[in-house]
Symmetry: C2
Subunit: 672 residues, 2 copies
C-alpha cells in the first residue's frame, strides 16, 4: 500500500513497501534480496544480520528516522549477550519495519556471498555450494495420519524452505529418529543437491547445529597431492596441506608409471592403493590442522591429470600411454567418496572435473575454470608447467588446448645439480655481465649470496642444488652475460673471460657455487643441463606456437603461468630463455596453483561445475603428437633467442650478446 513503509536494500538497490511490523528478513525474501538464514527466521542462527542506516538519503529519496525499525528484541538482546552482535547490526528476522528505511546487507550475511581472493585479477568465487544446512521444525507423528519421520521432515523442508528433497542417505535414515526426538522435533539438516537432480538429506543434527560443514578441494598431481579444506558456509579455506604422491616409487614421471602397469599387469591396483592411502593421510592431516572432525567433510572436488585421474579411480591407465590416448571417461565423474575409499563423512560426495583430452586432464580443466580464458576479451595464453605442460590459448570466442611433453627438467630432474624446490635449493641467480660472477638466493632465505649474513642464514639448510625455477634464471643470466650462445653452448674460460667456465668432457660447464674446500658441493651448470632445459622449453614453446598457429595469431595479450613452478618463475628470464612467446612483461602473471583454485571454485559453486563441463566440451583439443607443425616448431624453438630473433618486446628490455662458441676440445660446432 502507498502508506506502508518503504524499505530499500543495499547494495542490491531492491526496494518495496510492506505493512508495518513486517520482519526485515520477510521483506528481503519477498524482494529476492540475498539475505542468508539457516534457522528460517527463528532468531537462532544470526546469519541474517543487517545494518540499518538512518538520516536523509537524497539518492534514494527517503528520510529514515531512528525509530524506523522495531525496538531491540529480547532475542537480539540474548544473542548480543551470549555472542556479541557487531555495533549497528540487527537481526533481520527480529527487526520489523515501522517506517521508511534503508538497510544494508553486509557481505557475510549474503547467501551468495563472494569469497575474498588475494589476486586482484582473479575471478570472483560466489558461494553456491552443493551442500547446505537447513534448520526445520518437524511435525510430530500422528497415529491417525501415519507417515514416516523422513516424510514429515521432507514436508517440513518443502513448507519451510520450499525444498524438494527426494530422500535421505541410509545412514541419515538410521540417525533420524533419535535426532528428531532429542531435538524435540527440531533438527538441522545438511542437504546435498546432486548435479543431475534430486536433493538428499545427508546428515541430521538434533536442534540447531552451531558448527559448519566442510569440503575438500584436491589437486592430485604426479608429484604432490595438495588439498584445501574449505568451510562450505563461509567459503574460507580453513586448512591447506600437501603430501608427496607415493606413486613416485613406481616412476618419477607419469609415463614410467604407465609403463610399470604395462610391464606388471594388475599393477594399477598397487598404484591405486598407494595414492588412496596417501589421500587419506592428507585428509586426516588437513582435518587435524583445522581441528575438525573429518566426518564433517561432506564433499570433495578432485582434479588431476588423466593418468592420476584414472589411477585414483582404479582404471588401468594403459590406454593413456599409447595412441590414440583414449580416456575411459572424459566427462565429469560424480561418486560417493567411499567408493574410492576416502575417509570423510561416510556418505560424502566426490566430484571430479571433466578431462579435456587424453593428455589434458581435469587439472587443466580446473585451470581453465580458475583463469576463465573463455570469458576474456583479450587473447590469453595459459601455461601450467609440470612434468607435462598443459597449454590453453583463447578468449571468449574460442579456446584451444594442448599438452606438451616437457619432461621433468623444469622440476629439477635430469639436471646435474638439480633438485626439488626445497630449502637450500638455489632459486634466483644474477650474473654480473662484466665480472661474470654469480650471486644467488636459496629457498628459505631472503638474502642474496653476497649479502652479509647469508652464510649464517643458510647454515642449517646448506646450499644443496638448483631447483626448476633456478635453472631457468641461471641459463637466462648466462645467456645475458655472454657465457652461452644461442645454440646453447657454454664458452670456454678463454672465450668468456672467466675461470668459472671449465672444461667438462667434450663441452664446458659453468661453476655456480664451489664449496668443495669446506667439504660442500660443487654446483655447476653443464651443457647437458642446458640441453635438457632447451628440450623442455622447446616443447613448451612449440605447444604454445602450435596453438597460436591454429588460432591464426602471431602474438598474445597475456601470459598466465600456472602451477607451483609458474609461481616462482621470473617472466623476464623465461622470455630470455624463449620459453614463452614475446609479451609485455607486466602482462605475464603467475596464477599460482590454478588447478587447486579451480577445484576450490567447483567445490564452492555448483554452477561452476556446469560451466566447466560445458566449456570443456567446447574447447578445441589439439593433439601435439600428430601435428607435423609441432615438430617443426619444436626444432626451431630449441635455440635460445638471438638479438635478431622476432622477440621485439624482449629485445627492447634486454641486450642479448651476439656470441657464438665452438666446443673447446676436439668437438665440432653443433648443428643448430
Amino acid at each position: 500500500m502507498r502508506n506502508d513503509p518503504l524499505v530499500i536494500f543495499t547494495p542490491s538497490g531492491k526496494r518495496g513497501r510492506f505493512p508495518v511490523g513486517t520482519p526485515v528478513l520477510t521483506a528481503a525474501r519477498k524482494l529476492g534480496v540475498d539475505l542468508d538464514s539457516v534457522c528460517g527466521g527463528r532468531g537462532i542462527c544470526s546469519k541474517c544480520q543487517i545494518t540499518p542506516s538512518y538520516g536523509e538519503f537524497a539518492k534514494h529519496g527517503v528520510k529514515v528516522s531512528t525509530d524506523a525499525l522495531s525496538k531491540w528484541s529480547s532475542v537480539e538482546d540474548k544473542y548480543d549477550r551470549l555472542r556479541g552482535l557487531p555495533e549497528g547490526r540487527r537481526l533481520g528476522c527480529q527487526a520489523t519495519l515501522q517506517s521508511d528505511i534503508v538497510i544494508d546487507v553486509p557481505s557475510e550475511s549474503q547467501v551468495h556471498k563472494q569469497v575474498v581472493r588475494k589476486r586482484a585479477e582473479a575471478r570472483e568465487i560466489t558461494m553456491e555450494p552443493a551442500t547446505r544446512l537447513y534448520y526445520v521444525e518437524v511435525q510430530e507423528p500422528d497415529m491417525h495420519e501415519p507417515s514416516g519421520d523422513l516424510e514429515r521432515l521432507q514436508k517440513a523442508l518443502k513448507e519451510q524452505w520450499d525444498l524438494d528433497v527426494a530422500g535421505s542417505d541410509l545412514r541419515t535414515l538410521q540417525l533420524l529418529q533419535p535426532a528428531l526426538r532429542k531435538g524435540n522435533w527440531k533438527v538441522t539438516c545438511a542437504i546435498h543437491t546432486a548435479s543431475d537432480g534430486p536433493a538428499h538429506v545427508m546428515q541430521v543434527w538434533p536442534g540447531y547445529y552451531e558448527g559448519s560443514i566442510y569440503g575438500l578441494a584436491i589437486d592430485l598431481g604426479s608429484t604432490t597431492i595438495a588439498a584445501h579444506l574449505c568451510d562450505l558456509q563461509s567459503g574460507e579455506v580453513v586448512a591447506s596441506s600437501g603430501i608427496m604422491n607415493p606413486q613416485i616409487r613406481f616412476g618419477e614421471d607419469l609415463m614410467s608409471r604407465v609403463s610399470y602397469v604395462m610391464l606388471n599387469p594388475g599393477g594399477e591396483v598397487e598404484l591405486t592403493r598407494a595414492v588412496r592411502e596417501s589421500m587419506n593421510a592428507l585428509i586426516v592431516q588437513v582435518s587435524s590442522d583445522a581441528e575438525i572432525d573429518r566426518e564433517l567433510i561432506v564433499e570433495a572436488v578432485l582434479v588431476g591429470n588423466p593418468v592420476m585421474h584414472h589411477l585414483f579411480l582404479g582404471i588401468d591407465p594403459v590406454e593413456l600411454g599409447q595412441a590414440p590416448f583414449a580416456l575411459a571417461s572424459s566427462g565429469s565423474v560424480s561418486l560417493w567418496a567411499s567408493e574410492v575409499d576416502m575417509v570423510m563423512h561416510p556418505e560424502a560426495r566426490l566430484y571430479i572435473l571433466p578431462c579435456i583430452a587424453g593428455h589434458v586432464g581435469a587439472d587443466a580443466a580446473a585451470v581453465a575454470l580458475s583463469e576463465a580464458p573463455y570469458r576474456s576479451d583479450e587473447l590469453v595464453l595459459i601455461v601450467d608447467v609440470g612434468t607435462n605442460a598443459e597449454i590453453l590459448l583463447g578468449n571468449k570466442d574460442r579456446v584451444l588446448a594442448c599438452s606438451s611433453p616437457t619432461g621433468p627438467a623444469f622440476e629439477g630432474a635430469q639436471i646435474s645439480s638439480g633438485q626439488r624446490a626445497a630449502p637450500g635449493a638455489i632459486e634466483n641467480v644474477r650474473i654480473d655481465p662484466v665480472s661474470k660472477e654469480p650471486r644467488f638466493k636459496v629457498i628459505g632465505c631472503d638474502l642474496w649470496s653476497d649479502d652479509a649474513g647469508f652464510k649464517a642464514a643458510t647454515l642449517s639448510s646448506g646450499i644443496t642444488g638448483i631447483c626448476g625455477s633456478g635453472i631457468i634464471e641461471i641459463i637466462a643470466e648466462m645467456r645475458l652475460a655472454g657465457l652461452l650462445d644461442a645454440g646453447g653452448l657454454i664458452g670456454s674460460a678463454e672465450q668468456t673471460r672467466t675461470e668459472r667456465c671449465i672444461v667438462d668432457g667434450r663441452t664446458n660447464s659453468y661453476v655456480l657455487h664451489d664449496a668443495t674446500d669446506d667439504g660442500g658441493p660443487l654446483i655447476t651448470v653443464t651443457n647437458g643441463d642446458i640441453r635438457a632445459i632447451q628440450l623442455a622449453k622447446a616443447a613448451l614453446y612449440a605447444g604454445a606456437r602450435l596453438l597460436m598457429d591454429k588460432m591464426g595469431v602471431e602474438s598474445v595479450n597475456r601470459v598466465t603461468l600456472a602451477g607451483a613452478f609458474g609461481a616462482h618463475i621470473s617472466a623476464k628470464h623465461a622470455m630470455v630463455l624463449g620459453m614463452i612467446p614475446d609479451c609485455p612483461l607486466e602482462n605475464v602473471v603467475s596464477a599460482g596453483n590454478a588447478a587447486g583454485t579451480g577445484a576450490r571454485i567447483a567445490l564452492l559453486n555448483v554452477s561452476a561445475r556446469r560451466e566447466i563441463e560445458r566449456v570443456v566440451h567446447e574447447i578445441d583439443k589439439i593433439e601435439t603428437a600428430i601435428e607435423p607443425k609441432f615438430q617443426d616448431h619444436f626444432v626451431n624453438a630449441s635455440n635460445i633467442p638471438h638479438a635478431t630473433d622476432p622477440f621485439p618486446i624482449l629485445n627492447r628490455i634486454v641486450d642479448i650478446p651476439n656470441v657464438s662458441f665452438n666446443v673447446k676440445q676436439g668437438g665440432r660446432r653443433r648443428q643448430r
Copy 2:
C-alpha cells in the same frame, strides 16, 4: 505410398505401408509394435522372431502370397543351424517386406511380454524391468576428436537406442576400456534406469552377451525369508528358495525382538547382522540352485513388515514398539544393495516398497500391489495372516488398511500340540458328527489317516503335532460335531458322548491322536488352545469388521487369504470359526504368497513401483490400537458362531449344533 506393401501386425492390429525391402523389425518400430531386439537389428540376438501368415485374410482384407517376405537369409540360416529357429519363424531384422503380409508377434518376442501366472484371477505382470540389455557398436577413439570411451558409448546408446544415459557406475568404468577393445568396439550393456531419473551403465560385456541378467524378489518375513530369482529378460522365476529368519533366536515374534533391542541398547546391530547374513546365504543358495553367477543379479526388490524393514536397513525399531508407532521412513527406499551388504552384482540396486503405516508394512503394500483391490469393481477383503494380520478392504473408489495383533497362534505357536508347518504336522481334520471320531492328513502325505497305507506312508515323518491351518480345521470340526460350544468350551465325555473328550485340569481336552502305546505322542486340543485361537481369530475378525464399519458396509464381495497360512486354510472352516466375514465360499480365494508376488511385480515392472507408491499414499490407514470400536468388535468376536449369528451364507451351508457346556469340575461358566 499407395503401392507399397501393406504390413499388418497381430495381435496389436497395427498396420502400415512400407517400401519393398523394409525389414520387418524396422516396420514394427515405426508402427510402435512391441517387437523385442537386444542387438538392434544386427541378426545376433534373435529376440525379434516373428511368424508370417500366408493365405487370404478376409478380416484384414488382404491376400498374402508365400513370397510376401524376402528369402531366408544367410543369417537366419546360420542361426537355425546353430540354435534352431522354431518352425514358421523368421527373424524380424532379416526378413524384408516384398508384398502385403500379416505378421504375428509371438508373446516371447514382445518387449513388454506378459509373465505367465498360475492363478486365473491374478493380475498380469507386464515386463518393464528397470535394468535391460543393449548391444551397441561404439565409435573408435580419434585423436583429432578426443573423447572418453564412455562418452562414445553414451553417444552410441543415444544414436542406436535413443537412450539418454547419464553415466556409468565406477566398476563399469574400470571394465569399459578392455571390454570395448576385446569386443572390437561392440559391447552389450546392462543399463539401469533409476526411479528418479537418470540411466546408468551398470555392466558391460565384450561383443554380444548371450546370457541374461537376473533380479531377486525378496519377502523378508518374521519367520522366514523367501526369495524368487527372476530372469529380467523373460520374467521367468528360475529359482525360489526360503530360509529361516535367524532373528528368531532374539524373539519368536516381532515385538519380542523390539523388546530385545529396548533391553539391549545397540542390540539392533546384532539383529541386523543376523538377518543380512541369512539374506546372503539365501542369495548364494538361490543362485546356486539356478546355476548362475550371483554377480549377474543386478537388482533386488524387498518387502517386509515394518520391524523387519527397519532391522534389515539397520534402523533401530524401538519407535515401532510404542505409540505412535512412527516409521523412520514410510516411502519407498532405493539403495545400492552393497549398502546393506548384499552379495550380488557389486553395484546392484535394491528397491524396497513403501510401508503403509507403523504396523502395516512394505509386505502389506506388496500384497496390495499383487491383489490390486484399488483396481477392483467389487469390494474385496484381503487378509494376510502371519504373526500380525494385515487387512486391506476396498475397491477402486477407496482402500482401507489396518493391522491386527493376532499373535503367533495361527502359526502353531502357543498351541499345546502346535508346531510349524512341516512334514508330520496335521493340517486337515474331519470329525464324524455321529461317532465323533477324527480322521486327518499330515503334511507330506496325501492319504487320510483312515486310508490304507497311511501308517506306512507317514513312517518317516511321524505324526508330530498340529500346524496353524490344522488347528483351524480341528476347532471348526469340533464345533460342527457338537464337541464345542459357541463360547469355546469343550464338553465332557458325558456331554459329547465320546471318550475322546477327557478331563484336563479344570477344563476338557479332545484327543486327536494317541500313539502313546507305541511310545509316540499324545496329540490333543485343549481349552487353552481354543482360547488362543479364539483370541487370534477375534483380533482378525475385529480388524476386518472395523474396516467394514469405516467403509460403511455389512458384507464384502470377495475375501482373499494371503500368506502361506492363507494358502492352506479351508475357507469353510475359517468361516465356521468366525475368522472371516460371511461370504460366498467360492469367493474366498487363496492368493498364496501375495507379498512375494508383489515384490516380483515391482521387480519386473518399474511402473508398478510408481503405482504402489501412489496407492500407498492414498490408502486410508486405520490404527486399531486407538479405535475403541476395535475393542468392542474384539470382545464380540471371541465367540465361535452360533446358528443364530448373522452368518446367513455360512448357516446355509453348515449346520452348527446349538450346544452349551459348563466346565465339568468345579469351574463356573466363563463370562462371554
